[in-house]
């Protein structure tokens, strides 16, 4: 299910603004795929708001000719939002309740016809197609996801538009074994390349999360608090750790590509197990 982020305009004290807000609230009450956006929070780029914003299809409800919702959404980097001009939609009727009803119907129609426009950055149900390089070592199979960058500390980096997502490699999760506790740094924390930010703990060991790229944490994978096993079950997908706005994307050139990292990881795996790779 792709979530719908409805952004009513900021004209609370104007007739159009009142209608957009009432319509949004009614929709959110009756549908579980709708969240109401906040102009203020979106303007301030608050982390929780930005998470909803990025992972949802966006619908702007403009209450007057200022089109402030649409303007802000464009300023926040979305050019795929659906814009609805509420005065145009409701112009044919007079009463407030009638206007709200018309608006709700029109918005619902847009919500239902929307094919998913968001990329698969939905953190709740990620559904990426990941291609792997696979190698056997001992009785294990080591998986390295193609197209990512890897640090020598065994963390991966995936470029996603202007952000990067990071996580622990399959090798790291296998060596750590079952993670039962994860502690993550808060969004808005700035980290330098190779700083540690948070940790994960298994029965065997505590592992520092060593950040492979400088930047500002935009989002932490809060689902890991309740489901730390995602790190083991889905290290390159559901087990991601942080979404980061990088300071300098060129820094990634310091990291390894997938095939290079596989070579590196196999050497380490041999060391760990003390056996030759078949």
């Amino acid at each position: 299910m792709v979530r719908k982020y409805i952004l009513p305009c900021a004209g609370y004290d104007r007739p159009g603004g009142e209608v957009t807000r009432a319509a949004a609230e009614r929709l959110a009450k009756n549908r579980d795929d709708v969240v109401i956006g906040s102009m203020g929070a979106l303007f301030m780029e608050r982390p929780g708001e930005m998470r909803n914003y990025r992972t949802s299809d966006v619908f702007c409800l403009d209450g007057c000719g200022t089109d402030c919702a649409t303007e802000l959404v464009q300023a926040r980097g979305r050019d795929d939002a659906t814009t609805l001009s509420i005065p145009e939609i409701t112009g044919s009727v007079e009463g407030f309740e009638d206007k709200v009803r018309l608006a709700v119907d029109a918005i619902a129609k847009e919500l239902d016809k929307s094919t998913p426009k968001t990329s698969s950055t939905d953190t709740v149900e990620p559904s990426r197609e990941i291609e792997y390089i696979k190698e056997k070592f001992d009785k294990f199979v080591l998986k390295v996801a193609k197209g990512l960058k890897y640090s020598d500390n065994d963390f991966w980096v995936r470029v996603e538009g202007e952000h990067v997502r990071i996580g622990a490699s399959d090798f790291l999760q296998q060596m750590t074994s079952d993670v039962h506790f994860v502690e993550l740094a808060e969004p808005e924390t700035h980290v330098d390349m190779f700083d540690d930010a948070g940790m994960m703990e298994s029965i065997k060991i505590m592992v520092e999360i060593i950040i492979p790229v400088s930047g500002t944490i935009v989002e932490s994978n809060v689902l890991l608090e309740d489901s730390p096993e995602f790190i083991n079950e889905s290290p390159y997908d559901k087990g991601w750790l942080y979404l980061i706005k990088p300071d300098d994307i060129d820094e990634l050139e310091l990291l390894r590509d997938a095939s290079d990292y596989m070579t590196h990881a196999l050497v380490k795996a041999q060391e760990e197990i003390g056996k030759k790779v078949e």
Partner: protein, 102 residues
């Protein structure tokens, strides 16, 4: 066993740079370190045999500096006396970049 980089010691590389060229290992403040009264928390914690215990007085010293995993400083967080410090990461990264550029 350490996860952040398992292969360690001299003769290895980190980010393509010989480990011996990267001055990353802990420094112990022996005025503060009391060897945890013979418990040696850092020694027990670190799986890389970086440390060696000292007796009379009880303390700790770095025995295998190149075994230390570059950018790992987990042991310093285990230290109840806050006696373990590491170099600035930025300085080390500069050294690594300079070596890579050679």
């Amino acid at each position: 066993m350490d996860m952040t980089s398992s292969k360690s010691g001299s003769g290895t590389t980190f980010m393509g740079v010989d480990r011996e060229k990267i001055p990353w290992w802990p420094t112990i403040d022996l005025d503060m370190c009391d060897g945890c009264n013979g418990e040696y928390d850092c020694l027990k914690f670190c799986p890389h045999k970086v440390y060696r215990p000292l007796e009379n007085p009880s303390g700790i010293e770095v025995e295998n500096q190149y075994n230390c995993v570059v950018f790992c400083q987990a042991c310093s967080k285990m230290c109840p006396k806050d006696a373990i410090s590491f170099p600035a990461k930025g300085d080390i990264l500069k050294i690594i970049k300079a070596e890579r550029a050679k």
